[in-house]
Symmetry: C2
Subunit: 255 residues, 2 copies
């Protein structure tokens, strides 16, 4: 493949559960050596960008924090630009800091918008019911991602998507999705390295949001067999990757 | 209306929140006086049939327990008949008793079926994630109801439907719905009083599950303006009731 820039998913590509993917760091250094710019685009919405950067550091990666493009950071900027500052945040306390640092107000009533991330144990009947009532009262529904699940250290874990689907069903409203596969999200990351979609590849483990999303906006889609990769999910998705590789470690061999 | 039998919803029709609907009990006694048989069909899945009967008694209604047809009782019979005895129950502890009394096994692993009721505070990230993993491992998805919400004493409350939608989205499986508007559920109640759909009316506050469901199986649909009734929801539903009355108290005037 003739590729001038690379976007890389984090969870399931750089690490799976608590373990870094073997050879992934070496692959990044090979991209550096060849002068191919790259950024990280993550639908991991449990953690703030700062936490993700620290976690990657602990796993042995030296990645500058601004190179990590996350849905909470993108959503906070998008909401502030649109003047929707009163947010009911269905997020973890950690992800909440991305919104507070962007100057948004975390409120429990009279919200302009209900923001749904992967709130993990903060998804409760009470928090979901509050979100539902705010939606009926007129708040917009913004989803940081609509992924089905991700691969945790002891098995598959529900992501934000199912809870977004629950609120859409309850309130009869469609969510605006900020993270992958939203084209705006990919384009934001490409703008950061001055690359056009036609010359870039997206590397990820989610056939729908990573590969389908990338291809829909003109990028090449490279699927890795790490993380939540399952052959059956690929078959059922109707999406055809441009390339399937065992892990990020193999990427330089194909560029 | 020429009506020979009546099915009546409970929550929102006999009571709203903690208060009985004025005149509803008198209407039931009027049906008794005229010899019009009736049964109660409820999508309330937080409580066992015994608890519902006791609650109605406390609210001043004298209703024989077998006259109350609930989705948990119907589901337990349906699952036992089909030999699906190992159930992961996403229900309240109270509703669980209906399944245990029917001889089903409540299990946390190797489940034949995931059963979703309105589990209220027992809907947690952990219980939903367990249900999701069991579905991926091959369990069937059975929903006791798929209602969006109901009217509680301090506002609208999420019902089982949004959580069913969440699991359908996560696992890529459609739920089998046991309660209203499933025709089998209405027919089971009618069989109990030896009535045919064409001579029966369903009285309820849910335009979709009560009125739409009843009309789809040949019954008349009578919408009450108590409970979760909202004019806008009726307009958006595309369902036209045969009759709209202020409350159950007014029913005898139209028969």
């Amino acid at each position: 493949m003739q590729i001038g820039a690379v976007l890389i998913d984090i969870d399931g590509v750089l690490y799976v559960g608590d373990r870094p993917v073997a050879g992934a760091d070496r692959a990044l250094r090979e991209l550096d050596r060849r002068g191919i710019p790259y950024r990280f685009v993550s639908n991991t919405t449990r953690r703030s960008r700062r936490s993700i950067a620290r976690r990657l550091e602990a796993l042995g990666y030296a990645i500058p924090e601004p190179w990590i493009i996350t849905a909470p950071v993108a959503a906070a900027a998008h909401l502030r630009e649109g003047g929707r500052t009163r947010c009911y945040l269905l997020t973890t306390p950690d992800a909440r800091t991305d919104f507070e640092e962007a100057g948004l107000l975390a409120v429990d009533e009279e919200a302009d918008v209900v923001v749904v991330a992967d709130a993990a144990d903060d998804f409760t009947y009470e928090t979901l019911n509050r979100a539902f009532r705010l939606l009926l009262a007129g708040a917009d529904l913004v989803a940081l991602e609509k992924d089905r699940y991700w691969m945790g250290s002891d098995g598959l874990m529900l992501s934000a998507g199912p809870f977004v689907a629950a609120l859409e069903y309850a309130a009869g409203k469609k969510a605006e999705v900020i993270g992958k596969p939203s084209p705006a999200f990919f384009l934001r990351a490409l703008r950061d390295i001055g690359a056009r979609p036609g010359e870039a590849a997206m590397v990820g483990d989610d056939i729908v949001t990573d590969i389908g999303g990338a291809r829909a906006c003109g990028m090449k889609g490279v699927l890795v067999r790490t993380g939540k990769y399952r052959e059956e999910a690929v078959r059922r998705s109707g999406v055809t990757p441009d390339l399937v590789i065992d892990s990020l470690a193999d990427l330089p061999d194909y560029l």
